[in-house]
Subunit: 343 residues, 2 copies
Amino acid sequence: MPNLQEEMQRVKSKVDSLILEELLPASSPIPEIDLLYRMMRDYPARPAKGLRPFLCVATCRAMGGSEDDALLTASCIEMFQHWILIHDDIEDGSDLRRGQPTLHRMYGDPLALNAGDALHARMWGALVSNARRLGEARALGIMTEFSTMVDETTEGQHMELSWVREGRWDLSEHDYYEMCARKTSWYTAAGPCRLGAIVAGAGEAELARLLEFGTKMGVGFQIQDDALNLTGDPRKYGKASTDDILEGKRTLILLRLLGLVTRDEKDRLVSVMAKSRDDKTPADVEYVLSLVKKYDTIGYAQKRAKELIDEALVALRAVDWKGDRDSFSLLEAAARFAVERNW
Amino acid sequence: MPNLQEEMQRVKSKVDSLILEELLPASSPIPEIDLLYRMMRDYPARPAKGLRPFLCVATCRAMGGSEDDALLTASCIEMFQHWILIHDDIEDGSDLRRGQPTLHRMYGDPLALNAGDALHARMWGALVSNARRLGEARALGIMTEFSTMVDETTEGQHMELSWVREGRWDLSEHDYYEMCARKTSWYTAAGPCRLGAIVAGAGEAELARLLEFGTKMGVGFQIQDDALNLTGDPRKYGKASTDDILEGKRTLILLRLLGLVTRDEKDRLVSVMAKSRDDKTPADVEYVLSLVKKYDTIGYAQKRAKELIDEALVALRAVDWKGDRDSFSLLEAAARFAVERNW
């Protein structure tokens, strides 16, 4: 079996070429518009794992479809991630993305917001051209899936942002799963796998199994992301460490913690988390981290993530795979990678 | 011939029903998501002229197509305006839209930005369903035109925002036309007319004439919009009066003014316009208005707008119209309305 990380990089490099050489405009004689194009090409040119386009291509192959048929769709999945990250970084007020300043820190919120919209529209323009290779009906089917994927992602994003805005801490683990299933799972795993399957011609029954697989894998991926935000090496991880604390994110790690701490600890924890990003001191962040360590809620969350991946793998194995065996094995490896990675 | 304003309202009421009753979700059992849906339905429920969907439907009918075939596309044009105005209001820091507080003033930037994205995606989802009535090939052709329309609009928006950000005043009238042709003309006139023509089955030659018509009409529309911003009745106009001065917009009225004022006036004018929105005093705004009045650059700009509409009408009349004569006459009336309206 090929190595997972090599395979992710191989697919990513094909997808990046397609995005940067064919799907996005290279330059404009009008200097202002040339700057817009450079902004649109900024996130796509930064290093990334390439998990999502890989999942699309591998699912297509494992279903008996051809890699070449899936590459344009996989590229659009990657373009989706680029524009939504530009907007996500504005919404969260984040400083770093993939080890470099976020786009809105470089050019200000208005230009960055607009560049995200421009990239969003280019994604749909590229999806139209799927008709040439896959035919009109399948191209439209892929767009319907994209439409669902963006709907779900924006709904999950709204849930998380509204919790922060309204100062909500009366949230259960179930609420967290509902939010992640939308915010993360659809565009990280469920959408990419289902899109690869649609390219290969899969039916509703297989798509339903892939939805279960992708939803559980995506939540596991998000839990590990939350853990890395608190413990990871920022050079590998690419985002500012402890950003989630500064942004007041409702992670499983924090929700679990709120159920375990003493009354005094809870009062202080909630008052620290309620502060605005700029008002939070290094001592505030240290206090949150000390409680996380004391009650080992990272350990708890990672255990839940591993359980989710075990359930995801059961759903994955129930799919009627008719294609490349290696690609199926790589999908299994990718599910484990989602919760075992340190970057 | 039917009355233009009645006709715009008639089409708008059909389009609004389609948007609010069929294309947008009504409610969700999850309270957070229910709020997102209410945010997405906010701008669509506010009163508006309905010029854009009218242009789409009237062009389709004047070309010999059926109104019912054009209504979904016209609704998507209106949805486009809704999501881009949500984002535009964030980018400009505007307080009022259609006489009420802007969405980001009501819910904060992060939730409003995300709601705009959600509406953007719903627009594309709705466009996919055009295939049921118009067939797959035409549905895809309409999407290609939408993709161009969003590309052009974001490029024009970028030009304007980057001039403000970089403090640029070394701009010519030509620069202003280039910006408006992208920022305003495509989604106000060129796109809606061409989309109506595509629904009716028009060929490339007719689409090229409609591009010329729509580009010139759109620039005329924007010039009148700039004039109304300085002189209009805010109750009719719906936006805060003199917002363009506060936002530092490079309008034809101001660019012309810069070429006419004395050196001392120019120094003070540029230093006033360079201030941030919050730093501009009522006396600053009054000073700009006094110069505009002294040199009558509103008169100059409106004269240019009328010339553009005359040229636009020549292009409109060169189209090979084969359908409803009244609809053609209404298109002529709409072009004049663009520069003669006081709302």
